[in-house]
Subunit: 370 residues, 4 copies
Amino acid sequence: MTGNLLGERFVVVSFGESHGRCVGGVIDGCPAGLPLSEDDIQRDLDLRRPGVSSTSTKRSEEDRVELLSGVFEGYTTGSPICALIWNKDVDSKPYEKIRKTPRPGHADITAFWKYGGYNDWRGGGRFSGRVTATFVIAGAIAKKLISHTLGIDVLAYSIEIGGIRAREVSDDEAKKFRYSNEVRCPDLEVAEKMRIKILEERSKGDSVGGIIECKVLNVPVALGEPVFSSLESDLSKALFSIPAVKGIESGIGFEVSRLRGSECNDPFGVKEGKIVTITNRAGGILGGISNGMPIVLRLAFKPTSSISKPQKSVNRDTLKEVDLVVPGRHDPCIVPRAVPVVEGIVACVIADHSIRAGLIPPVIKRGFKR
Amino acid sequence: MTGNLLGERFVVVSFGESHGRCVGGVIDGCPAGLPLSEDDIQRDLDLRRPGVSSTSTKRSEEDRVELLSGVFEGYTTGSPICALIWNKDVDSKPYEKIRKTPRPGHADITAFWKYGGYNDWRGGGRFSGRVTATFVIAGAIAKKLISHTLGIDVLAYSIEIGGIRAREVSDDEAKKFRYSNEVRCPDLEVAEKMRIKILEERSKGDSVGGIIECKVLNVPVALGEPVFSSLESDLSKALFSIPAVKGIESGIGFEVSRLRGSECNDPFGVKEGKIVTITNRAGGILGGISNGMPIVLRLAFKPTSSISKPQKSVNRDTLKEVDLVVPGRHDPCIVPRAVPVVEGIVACVIADHSIRAGLIPPVIKRGFKR
Amino acid sequence: MTGNLLGERFVVVSFGESHGRCVGGVIDGCPAGLPLSEDDIQRDLDLRRPGVSSTSTKRSEEDRVELLSGVFEGYTTGSPICALIWNKDVDSKPYEKIRKTPRPGHADITAFWKYGGYNDWRGGGRFSGRVTATFVIAGAIAKKLISHTLGIDVLAYSIEIGGIRAREVSDDEAKKFRYSNEVRCPDLEVAEKMRIKILEERSKGDSVGGIIECKVLNVPVALGEPVFSSLESDLSKALFSIPAVKGIESGIGFEVSRLRGSECNDPFGVKEGKIVTITNRAGGILGGISNGMPIVLRLAFKPTSSISKPQKSVNRDTLKEVDLVVPGRHDPCIVPRAVPVVEGIVACVIADHSIRAGLIPPVIKRGFKR
Amino acid sequence: MTGNLLGERFVVVSFGESHGRCVGGVIDGCPAGLPLSEDDIQRDLDLRRPGVSSTSTKRSEEDRVELLSGVFEGYTTGSPICALIWNKDVDSKPYEKIRKTPRPGHADITAFWKYGGYNDWRGGGRFSGRVTATFVIAGAIAKKLISHTLGIDVLAYSIEIGGIRAREVSDDEAKKFRYSNEVRCPDLEVAEKMRIKILEERSKGDSVGGIIECKVLNVPVALGEPVFSSLESDLSKALFSIPAVKGIESGIGFEVSRLRGSECNDPFGVKEGKIVTITNRAGGILGGISNGMPIVLRLAFKPTSSISKPQKSVNRDTLKEVDLVVPGRHDPCIVPRAVPVVEGIVACVIADHSIRAGLIPPVIKRGFKR
């Protein structure tokens, strides 16, 4: 299989370029009978739309999703759903000037090597963050599917930006407040500090990174396949396809390396007649399989590579060193707009594994509820 | 596809259980013409063999690999290579007693839920660390393949155990010293401290975790497929199938979240007539594609779940809480034996992507060298 | 993987419905550097266009292909190519009346069962012959790829329609004359008889079937993977996805069953310094792998299921038997319009296997010729 | 994915060579909870065992299956089942002499080209009919699975050998008599004539081909995935991996090409409150999806390629023409021993699609019956 495809039973095929005609995807394997409209998707797309907040790029795209297939009379048909957004506010001129001087931190040079110079270099082409719009589209369908059939909730939010850390918040707070502010942080006090930090660094021509946490609530037990399709395997594979992600933790993550077994293991107990773990350091996954506790993930995002400060680069043809000032319109921090992307991609993996585990049938009959 | 299969063109199929007849795998897609013998594999297998060091489990397995197919007159044939090790020193009695009381930190309860009680529970069955022997077998073949054809080297080693951190070492030190001591740490002074720490915690009936770093040297450019089969995606998917891994970093990993763009981007320069990055914070991967610099990964391993200290569990049938003392023979720290496993699994992914990128042909002619 | 996807390295993803917004596909894995324009595709699409010949349906569709991604400045980029045609001349009214009475020979009832009634039933929806337009689009790209890089030619043509059999023709005749007439038969005398036969049966409200032969010329040796991805396996899988195909032969096909070994085996000889088979009863494939001789396939097509003669059906809801007269606009014989579809789908499989065999590199450099 | 793997959810991985240590497979995706023993498999294996009938090869192999994993306490565990048979009566000497002169009708030359001479050539190596033992092993598991859970029956039998055609038999006759005679033909009178024909041709140093029919009874509706994984697509792909198959028909097959629509369509009727087709020319498949009627397939088998009559070949190295007399022990007709292979492979595909359609759950609870 090629690299533009994710999943086994709930499959996402990605296509499109940043400055081409569109970005979109084919979502295949969604069971028939799910109520679905463009509005369901647009809501999530609007959360990652560029040009609407003080901390995001000035590229202004409407990003209206169009469903081209697979939905009929308000329901999914079981056939592939092709969905896309047209590129409208495209300005490729700034890229023309720097075509031969790869931008540090970007895929310009690796794309050039891989595709022998035939790749669409405008706006990063296939390597632009814009391709993540497709993850949001697919994710919106996946979220609706797993919520409608299994009651699963996926919540992502910023917990750290530019070195500023949020306090721990409850799931309820996360649900309520994560999209109430520009930086997608449910700790509202800290959110404002994060916002100011981003603007500060932007004013200096720089950018900042951060950390997103994602929780999956109300997860059924037994999702995940040993040994190579463990939940953590498939989640991390999917999440590392978000540009700028450089680290992934499951449960308490790297903290495990400093604990003793007696401090790290989650003891078992009984709650409402069910076996549960009393703590959740494992983040809802034991042996690669869901144990019914919330899944907890954390992702490290690097600062936006495109900054206006001069950087050292090299002319691809002449091999001469140059001081590069990256033109174009960019987010000074990718983290806020990545929050719905993380939710979407996690939902796709959970949907895929829910189908693989036999928890969602090929046809969702009216009133189906597991 | 099912979960017991890894890769697209260099494929590993895993089978076997800890206390069944064997653990093994089918390695398919290895090009014809690679010189290969059981000795090539045995060397690596011996590095993860149990029962041979002061810090490992007392289960004593010879772990002699047998090649059942795919190799003929000293060369790979291009047909699937089935390879396995027979289980010999099996003692399932201790597990009988705790069959209904899931061990904290283990997959006992999730396996029971997933397979409705039909799973082989003896010694963790399919969820035992013993299945990673197959990763080492497949990895030894992959290492030979990428070294023989492309000169690629894969080096893993412990950099932290029980909170004790090694100093940074050179690649040469890593090559020379990583397997010179029981804990697989090339910083020899720290290695001895780590060893003592493990023995100390074992004497208290406890266990410790740690961090393994893995470098891939002499990587060709252009490995990795956007968007869902980026090198980081496929490496992390593969690495999270090693039991006990709870976090993965690429390049400087989580550190990126606290840097500015100007501090995080690797500037470009020229070296020996080639474009390189002057620093390597990205860990050899830009936009999911190799840029020719060393690939750098770090993995967080949790402390061994099986400890002899009493822990809280619940009887699966009666739902009564019990104080569980886990019997059996276990490693007080999984990190040292995981080092060759990490090398193997990383080599499998690099081999797969090297074939996908067209860098290794279906038949390796005598004298082939890219 | 889902059923809407074909191939391993040259991948076709199909989407769209007969009376929905469009039919299209994503073609992924096409190497970078192939010169490609919409015209290259349009030529083949025009060969299966409805409404243009005396023997085809009256549905009049322009069928203008649009390339939405993956092509830049006249060359493929190595990224997924999304291509589609919009549905324009849609008239779903006739289908409304027969929605609950499945048409004999059609997928109406099986689609209803499979998708629980959520499928788009208009014009056969996802089960319409119209989805084969995507096969032609993908096939045009594949044909250009294998012709440009390897000089491979794919020729399909009608050899039998309504019981009228063409004489054997040379490859040159096939190249020249197959598209010179409405029924796509290179035996021009017989072609006219076939045309008349089709019109005759249509005038009686009936339809006819036929046989298409397909040859692949200038095939390199060593295409095909044992044991489950033999060339015959992958060709037949792909070809059986053309609606109406009910039988497939490779080489002399069913005739083998009546021959002795001494009559069936192709003896070896030498031609221009190369080992060849003197006869080609095997149809260019030995042990599932190409031997350099022309690949020869034959496909049985059933008569169009939609006929205007009354047929017995059953009301899906009431289970009452009804005499059904199928409305709508249909081809009285599907064979002529299927010819370019067969060429396309065969080209896709050959392209896939050429890439898998390492014969086409990921980037086609200017002047590449194997 | 590589070519040695079949299926999506019920997966067969094949390994092994004719004169290597063993032939075997990994069967993955079989749900947990299926009662399974080596005896279940041995019964079917014995039906294709060589050396036991007057019309088969003299190679005498015990062919005792060994289950190495995935079965525990009499039930499948849900983990991969590795099963194999050891090669015992191996005599490679005859092949040494003809190593450089490819046998007509065999894959000797294509294997040599594909694998650059590294392939195991002894006894045909990977291209031997012996690899089909794995199909029978996997098939026995699949048959048990679909019979146990869904009541599906798979029946294959010879209908033509050496030009001698059996009369049509009822399903009951097929069940009772197909394995009652050496040639696996339920028309007992004709069976004896076929047997004599085979012996006659063998005495002349020649071989004969034939046709196998396969029926699948009690098929649930809605198996098969449009468009590329139609039942016919996946069945034909699997069946063409049986060496010697050169043609496949579904339903009435090639006969469709000579019928009118009004003669070919199966009219609908009602039987026991269910919609059925009154005739079954479509062979149980409409639009690639099962309609509940028996699936009917027919396969053309070529005569065994290995014959003792002299044939023209060419020395691979010197390119000199030679008269080749093929040594070794061979079946004068492959058809009888292929019958259980066809049943097995068809059962694997039906099992795969039954799981994909959600009809068999991941765990088969005691008493499960759909």
